[in-house]
């Protein structure tokens, strides 16, 4: 019965795919790049023109420079959701530091200890190279946030608190990340006020009406002005934010189990 349903499903999927393929025979796509895409590809890494972001990664240039304000509000939506979930479990969890049990078997624990620095390294690499390769602050932060989840499953939530990863420290990290994003957004505006020239909020490189720009590279390493700082602070804020949510959920469970 299940198999027949599955075969019917596959036939329907293939039929729809065939229909779309046959239908698209009559739509001849344009071979040229659209004008908006052309603008982004031309200006993303081009020191000779105005409106450049000085980043070879066009996606990060669009996300944090060309439409940076949108990304700022996306980030604030994520933090509002997090604040909401923290408010839900408030009073349901306390941080207790005693180790409950020994976790899973010694093989799993040893493998976790070996892979832990690797996960951090991969996350930091994705986050800090966001202006050079695919990836960015959110991607790197969520990769790093996988580690506390694995540690909670393999050891326990109390083990994480015992190692110094407490809720108050995580909230401090998250707040520092948010403050960093805010300061980076208005850094050039404040510099413009101090120097007496005009500058925009969320400005990265020099614009026609505002001729000051963020440093393109530090010591020969390309940082693309604000993009590297945005990715760095976003990475810390996202990793800490996800970890708070797990810790709160897991702690709430242990407290409920104790009450029973």
């Amino acid at each position: 019965m299940k198999l027949i349903e599955l075969v019917i499903l596959i036939v329907v999927v293939l039929a729809v795919a065939l229909l779309i393929t046959v239908g698209f025979e009559h739509i001849i796509p344009s071979t040229s790049v659209r004008r908006l895409a052309e603008f982004y590809l031309y200006t993303a890494y081009n020191p000779l023109v105005n409106y450049t972001a000085m980043s070879p990664e066009a996606v990060t240039a669009i996300v944090w420079d060309f439409r940076g304000l949108d990304t700022l509000f996306e980030t604030s939506v994520f933090y509002l959701a997090l604040i909401g979930s923290l408010a839900l479990v408030r009073g349901l969890f306390v941080e207790h530091v005693e180790k409950s049990g020994h976790g899973l078997s010694i093989i799993v624990r040893t493998v976790t200890r070996i892979t832990a620095p690797m996960i951090i390294a991969v996350g930091a690499s994705i986050g800090l190279h966001g202006h050079l390769t695919p990836g960015g602050g959110f991607q790197g932060g969520s990769v790093i946030a996988v580690l506390p989840m694995i540690v909670i499953v393999v050891f326990s939530a109390g083990f994480l608190v015992l190692k110094g990863v407490t809720t108050s420290k995580l909230i401090t990290t998250r707040s520092l990340g948010l403050i960093g994003i805010g300061v980076t957004a208005i850094a050039l505006f404040l510099a413009g006020l101090a120097l007496g020239t005009s500058a925009y909020v969320f400005q990265n490189m020099a614009k026609p009406a505002a001729q000051i720009s963020m440093p393109v590279s530090i010591g020969g390493a390309l940082i693309s002005g604000t993009l590297w700082f945005f990715n760095l602070f976003e990475m810390f804020a996202v990793a800490a934010g996800f970890t708070i949510a797990f810790l709160a959920i897991m702690m709430a469970r242990t407290l409920e189990a104790e009450k029973r």
Partner: protein, 87 residues
Amino acid sequence: MVPGETGVYLLMAIMSLLSAIAVYMAIRERDLVRAVIYSALQSGLYAILYFLLLAPDIGLVYIPVAVGLIPGVLLVLISKTERWERE
């Protein structure tokens, strides 16, 4: 031997079909833990699809969030409620 571009399209077709099957299994499964694993499998196949469709940025979000974080949270929620879906 198939030429490179055709091979990529073929791989995409196989991934899409497998993800459709995984979705069906996730919906029909009465054991919620296994349903979560099928859902994670579908997300992993989608991550490969995003990579093949030249959107590695989305793929990099998809792998940790949809394969690591969301199944983890769902498993915690299942452990707090019931494992078996009722009629």
